[in-house]
């Protein structure tokens, strides 16, 4: 089946090695920090995040210096003397201490309205505490997901087809209406469309970034970047200002998976970033869902393979809702029926019946519907105005929603 990927977490330990660290120890780490430093510890923890130290490394510092503030104010020699820490980690820590004023940075974050939630806070997501290499703290624009709200991660290819796009939007929208949080990575393609669908459905959605939360990457998603801050939150374990470097992105996938109850893969090639998320999901014991695609579509090979190896095939939003938010379905027979179907007639109906989720050329639609070209163009525009179909650049028309 799916193999575990060995991902270097930057502290010399491999992801698999964390299986031996029990969550209880992590919890006690939070208690130890609280006991030693009190709530003020957040300010120092933030700088430890700045130095990209893992929980393990934070524990090492406490073991040696007794508290975080003491570690932060210790002499360079003492820190360099800490044998358990890797050289890079020590250097990063020392650099941060040299260049950064803890209080100023704290104020700066407050002004930028960036929240910092560390492991000692109650708000820190429970779901994250359960995973092996949980981050020390999170930077947030907006808010964090509630642990009690069901959440689903929607992931997929950056270069998606119109089919993937429409499915992602449609399902995300319906799930959002059912009160399920949509978690994704705000990347181009499926990620972005999942966020958009959720936003349009009026639900909450959370984007886990591989860069600082103050950086919108990719830039085209600036509109959802702004909207998500009001309808959910932008989350990152990286210090604000961290540039989007490719190494960070696979790593943030573990948070996307950890924050969710299940992972839906909409479109993915055989080997892609989505598989990393799925791997993490399996490791963390999440449900895997996949949208089946045509066997000839290379973009769906990943999904189809997931289904073969045991992922649940999703053909409608209810397939997920019945597992994540079964209460919502009670008393409701068919969700699709809920969508209002405007009355179409004549040429418009003929053309609408010929439309698919994938782009069709006008010629193709003409021969399917038997309409003359000028009538067809006319009818398509009317459907477009009514929001029933979409013109895809100069490449044809597709149905707007399932």
């Amino acid at each position: 089946m799916i193999e575990h990927k060995n991902i270097d977490t930057g502290d010399g330990l491999e992801a698999n090695d964390y299986d031996c660290i029990f969550p209880e120890i992590e919890e006690s780490l939070a208690e130890r920090i609280l006991n030693a430093d009190g709530p003020e510890a957040d300010m120092f923890l933030m700088q430890l995040c700045h130095a990209e130290l893992s929980r393990n490394q934070v524990r090492i510092l406490i073991d040696r210096f007794g508290s975080i503030s003491e570690a932060y104010h210790a002499d360079d020699e003492d820190i360099l003397d800490t044998k358990e820490l890797s050289d890079e980690a020590k250097q990063r820590f020392i650099n941060v201490r040299k260049t950064v004023d803890v209080y100023e940075e704290w104020e700066k974050m407050r002004k930028q309205e960036i929240m910092f939630i560390s492991l000692i806070n109650e708000e820190f997501p429970e779901r994250l505490d359960k995973i092996s290499n949980a981050p020390v703290g999170l930077f947030i624009l907006g808010r964090l997901p509630y642990s009690t709200t069901p959440a689903l991660a929607i992931v997929g290819s950056r270069e998606c087809s119109n089919y993937g796009k429409e499915v992602a939007i449609d399902i995300a929208k319906k799930l959002a209406r059912a009160g399920i949080d949509i978690i994704s990575g705000m990347a181009a393609g499926i990620d972005g469309f999942a966020h958009r669908g959720a936003l349009n459905g009026g639900g909450d959605t959370f984007a886990v970034l591989g860069c600082g939360v103050d950086i919108c990457y990719p830039r085209e998603n600036i509109d959802i970047y702004v909207r998500i801050q009001k309808q959910g939150g932008i989350i990152s374990e990286y210090y604000p200002g961290t540039q989007p470097i490719s190494f960070n992105f696979p790593l943030r996938n573990r948070l996307i998976s950890a924050l969710s109850d299940g992972i839906l893969v909409v479109e993915a090639r055989q080997r892609s970033g989505s598989w990393i998320t799925v791997d993490y999901g399996l490791e963390q014991g999440k449900d895997i869902y996949a949208i089946p695609g045509r066997i000839s579509d290379r973009l769906s090979t990943g999904c189809n393979n997931l289904i073969r190896t045991g992922a649940k095939a999703v053909t409608k939003a209810e397939d997920i809702i019945e597992e994540l938010a079964p209460k919502y379905l009670r008393g409701k027979r068919n969700l699709v029926k809920e969508e209002e179907t405007a009355k179409l007639a004549g040429d418009e109906l003929k053309i609408y019946k010929a439309l698919e989720l994938t782009a069709c050329s006008v010629e193709e639609l003409c021969s399917r519907s038997g309409l003359a070209i000028d009538k067809a163009v006319c009818a398509l525009t009317m459907l477009e105005i009514k929001g029933k179909c979409v013109k895809l650049g100069n490449s044809g028309y597709a149905r707007k929603s399932m």
Binding site: V362, I373, A379
Partner: protein, 514 residues
């Protein structure tokens, strides 16, 4: 002795009469030339002297001064060789000057006295006629160009010697004026056309859109994967345009004459041009220019089609340089010495692939990222897109259509309809400075594209639901006007608008948005 004879120089597509003055006096044997000359004109003195000697004439060693007047405009080109030679010979009292008032000469001389072809003969002959000259002697190579002009004798000369003989009064066969009736070659030539629309298999959308484009002289952009037939369709656009009128062809021939693109086989433009410059073209080759300005492709496409294949592959400056010609329908090229104005009333047909690899949005074949697609499309800037009224997608046709025995509509049949639609517009815009729907200004749109209440509501909802812009609004109305005209309907109806909306620009990244 002093002597002067007329010649002409090309400025833009007009010719100006230039007087060649020569004076010979006793003194040191010097050949002096003045009159704001470019270097090729200055070099004429060596060609002239040698040509005179090699034609069998003996020039006495005298102090010769040549002036090209008016002396304040720059003279370029080699057309002054012949008049300078004749003026110098006359000033040396070697030939009689009694015919000089009624004659105009142009031509380049070889060292052996042969007269070589030049460019721009047609405007020269036209200018000579308008200035009241009776005879125009031009190089034999170019005589056909000049012979179409009515009201002036145009003689093609092969050698300097034959011109001299003519001035002595000899009327031999080789110096007889040539007469060509342009109307007859017109009829003869336009009967045969080797391209026809029936050769295009399938593609009903492209056919319809192209017909609309031609019917209102709208610019059109075709997007589609490689091999879909965009170029094939574009090449056939001139075949459905109305026949060239005599006035149009006169203007066009002038431009081609100036550009040096006329020859013995094609001395008069009888067909609408189809220009398809390669995408490596430079700004000056497209809009015109050069040290001695020459008309560019936009002017060579006057009354016809300028086809830009693979438009995003063109240099950005080249695309941007099209803004002016598309807006003003003329090109003005400014140099230190003068500004030259060339006409640029052409119909733009452009083609492009939807993405760098050509297969977007077929994700099984296209591996371009959204960013690549966006960047590729972004190469055509919004101001240019705003000047294109129709956007269509041309898809690959399948085998059954390719093999279909059914005969498609021919260019002839389409042209009949197009002519009818264009006549409606001609009637409507009589007395205005426009002839086609595509030229309607915002104010004129308000006047000629009146909408009923339901049509207004339709456009309003289009504004909201499909993100039509204010600029797009006018484009839609212009196209809707043409579609209504094709329907012979005075009123623009909802279906006309809806169809026009179907051809609207959708180059942006809306498809990636929700």
């Amino acid at each position: 002795m002093f002597c002067s004879i007329a010649s002409a120089a090309i400025y833009g597509i007009e010719a100006r009469i230039i007087k060649c003055e020569a004076d010979c006096i006793d003194g040191l044997p010097i050949f002096n030339m003045v009159g704001y000359l470019s270097s090729e004109v200055r070099e004429a003195k060596d060609r002239v002297r040698t040509a005179i000697r090699n034609s069998g004439f003996f020039m006495k060693p005298k102090h010769v001064t040549v002036n090209l007047s008016p002396a304040d405009i720059r003279k370029a080109g080699t057309a002054f060789d012949l008049p300078i030679a004749i003026a110098v010979m006359a000033a040396s009292e070697m030939i009689p000057t009694d015919m000089f008032d009624n004659i105009l000469l142009v031509g380049e001389l070889g060292l052996d006295g042969e007269i070589k072809g030049i460019s721009g003969v047609l405007p020269v002959v036209l200018a000579a006629r308008d200035a009241g000259y009776k005879t125009c002697i031009v190089p034999k190579d170019n005589v056909m160009e000049g012979a179409v002009v009515d009201g002036i004798d145009c003689i093609g000369a092969e050698t300097l010697e034959s011109v001299v003989r003519y001035l002595f009064g000899s009327r031999e066969d080789d110096m007889k004026p040539l007469k060509i009736d342009p109307e007859s070659i017109f009829d003869e030539d336009r009967s045969e056309m080797n391209l026809d629309f029936y050769e295009v298999a399938g593609q009903p959308l492209a056919r319809r859109a192209v017909e609309i484009a031609v019917s209102g002289q709208h610019n059109i952009l075709m997007s589609g994967p490689p091999g879909a037939g965009k170029t094939m369709i574009a090449r056939r656009i001139p075949t459905i345009m109305p026949r060239l009128t005599f006035d149009e062809s006169m203007e066009l021939s002038r431009i081609y004459s100036v550009a040096g693109k006329l020859d013995k086989d094609r001395f008069f433009m009888t067909r609408r041009p189809f220009r398809s410059p390669h995408h490596t073209a430079t700004v000056s080759s497209i809009v015109g220019g050069g040290v001695t300005p020459k008309p560019g492709e936009v002017s060579l496409a006057v009354s016809g089609v300028l086809f830009l294949d693979e438009m995003p592959e063109l240099n950005r400056e080249v695309i941007e340089a099209l803004r002016g010609p598309l807006e003003d329908r003329t090109v003005m090229i400014s140099r230190i010495n003068a500004s030259y104005i060339y006409p640029a009333r052409f119909m733009l047909a452009a083609s492009m692939n939807p993405c760098p690899c050509g297969y977007y949005p077929d994700r099984n074949r296209c591996t371009c990222t959204d960013n690549m697609v966006r960047r590729y499309r972004g190469k055509i800037s919004q101001p240019i897109l705003d000047r294109i009224d129709l956007y269509i997608n041309v898809d690959k046709i399948n085998f059954s259509e390719l093999n279909n025995e059914r005969k498609n509509e021919s260019s002839e049949a389409i042209r009949k309809r197009v002519e009818r639609t264009l006549n409606i517009q001609k009637e409507r815009y009589r007395g205005l400075d426009i002839c086609f729907n595509s030229q309607l200004s915002a104010g004129q749109i308000r006047k000629f594209c009146k909408l009923g209440d339901s049509e207004k509501t339709l456009l309003e909802s289009a504004f909201d639901s499909i993100g039509l812009s204010a600029r797009g609004y006018h484009r839609i109305l212009r196209v809707a006007r043409t579609i209504a005209d094709m329907d012979e309907s005075d009123k623009i109806s909802g279906s006309h608008i809806a169809e026009a909306l179907g051809y609207r620009e959708n180059m942006g990244t809306e498809e990636m948005r929700v």
